[in-house]
């Protein structure tokens, strides 16, 4: 049951929760018009303390498609935050206006604090470097749609596995399923954190950490790519050295399975070269499009069950 619940971290979600959302998203995709007024008279507040395009717009689109209304905190520089209002007071205000609050914040734990303050459900649209639970829902839903299952698949996650909130949430979400094998592909500086490793061991997931995509590409059913950010490297020359090895090109996909699915939470900069877009592997735009039905499913289940 998701009704009335806060969605802060993948760790709060069971396999059953994921499946409930997936089934709802399936129903919505089958007959979108059937749901177009189910959230009439409900209001969703979006409070994005950090820039976002896709996540904010897809949440807003999702709410509008369900017949609900949207209020938005607007750009932080132009809101009361600029006058020094803290997060807690801002959330208290939104709690009194809206039926559900969607928050994104730079700081770790901001969404959890918001959920403790607000009586209305709070959805984390990304905070700090670990949690982006709705992105993980979309990622898994995309895999399920394209492969027909999640269990048993061999999955590679490439890029920034240490600080990327999307990769961290994706990996955590995989522990809810019985995947075949997990390859963690990253430069040594951006390997997963110890607690993620512990989580994988605890969940009994077979995983291997490698530095090069070419070592494992032939095995993969899914390749989840993410951006390696320059600011993560104390030495810019180190960044220049590793970045080339993590750009996905036609060449680096040589030997890949026919039905390999490449995902990316977007935005991408240059980590997937444009030539890959025209291959059958490229599913990241489809993944982004599925953001709307998945968020519709979530909003519907949280607000009216």
């Amino acid at each position: 049951m998701l009704r009335g619940r806060d969605i802060i971290s993948v760790n709060d979600l069971s396999r059953h929760d994921f499946e409930e959302i997936f089934r709802m998203a399936d129903e919505i995709l089958e007959a979108p018009d059937r749901w177009s007024s189910i959230l009439r008279s409900k209001i969703m507040a979006t409070a994005f303390f950090e820039p976002s395009t896709r996540t904010r717009l897809s949440f807003q689109t999702a709410m509008l498609r369900l017949g609900g209304e949207v209020i938005d905190l607007g750009e932080v520089e132009k809101s009361s935050i600029a006058k020094g209002e803290n997060l807690s007071d801002t959330i208290r205000m939104l709690d009194s206006y809206a039926d559900v609050i969607v928050i994104r914040h730079r700081l770790e734990g901001a969404a959890k604090l918001a959920a403790e303050i607000a009586e209305k459900p709070v959805i984390n649209a990304g905070d700090g470097s670990r949690n982006h639970p709705t992105q993980a829902m979309i990622d898994l839903y995309t895999i399920r749609r394209l492969h027909g299952r999640i269990d048993g698949l061999t999955i590679g996650v490439l890029g920034d596995l240490k600080y990327g909130r999307a990769t961290n949430s994706f990996i955590a979400a995989l522990t809810r399923f019985r995947i075949g094998k997990l390859y963690l592909i990253s430069p040594p500086q951006l390997r997963v954190r110890d607690d993620t490793r512990e989580l994988l061991v605890e969940a009994g997931i077979e995983f291997r950490e490698v530095e090069r995509l070419e070592e494992v590409v032939e095995d993969l059913d899914v390749l989840y790519a993410s951006r390696i950010q320059k600011e993560r490297f104390p030495d810019p020359s180190e960044y220049e050295m590793v970045r080339g090895s993590y750009v996905i090109t036609g060449e680096s996909l040589r030997g890949a399975k026919k039905n390999l699915v490449i995902l990316h939470p977007l935005p991408r900069v240059d980590e997937i070269s444009f030539e890959v877009d025209s291959t059958p592997y490229a599913k990241y735009f489809e993944q982004a499009a599925l953001g709307v039905p998945v968020r519709m499913a979530l909003l519907k289940l949280i607000l009216v069950g």
Partner: protein, 159 residues
């Protein structure tokens, strides 16, 4: 074999905290909120021989009976500590200090990007005990772990 003479006289009513790692007694007192101004008679014995620990500290507080929630904090610095409640010169209760499941308010998260480190937010740091041996506390907001060394460093560096 004759017993070694006691360094400090027996107490009549109060609490004895035994098996404190050597050198930590003062920090433990601070953690318990005992400053010396409360009027209790307090005896501290430091760096005495111990079969279990090699060297250990002992604290005796006359007239103070600690509740389990007070003593549990002690375990954060002294996981082997035992707490003896004394009545009429006899130990009437002996318990191990066990770290609380939830530690709220007096430890800080070491993650500068954690919401609990924002000065203008009314939020108390909160940690969940993820493992007792070795002791590991996990920030309830950002999931970053504090190890026993982190905890000891924080508690011992307090003024």
């Amino acid at each position: 074999m004759a017993e070694k003479p006691l360094l400090v006289a027996k107490i009549r009513n109060g609490t004895i905290i035994d098996h404190i790692p050597a050198g930590r007694a003062l920090s433990i007192l601070r953690l318990m909120g005992i400053t010396g101004k409360e009027g209790f008679t307090v005896a501290i014995v430091m760096n005495v021989e111990s079969r279990k620990l090699g060297r250990k500290d002992i604290i005796k507080v006359e007239g103070l009976e600690l509740r389990p929630e007070d003593t549990d904090k002690i375990a954060l610095l002294a996981p082997m500590a035992t707490i003896n409640v004394v009545k009429d010169y006899a130990v009437v209760e002996k318990r191990k200090a066990v770290p609380p499941k939830i530690v709220e308010g007096f430890l800080r998260c070491k993650n500068p990007n954690c919401i609990t480190n924002q000065k203008n937010e009314p939020v108390k740091p909160r940690f969940i005990t993820a493992s007792y041996d070795p002791l590991k506390l996990v920030c309830d907001y950002c999931s970053l772990a504090l190890t026993f060394d982190d905890i000891a460093r924080q508690l011992e560096s307090r003024p």
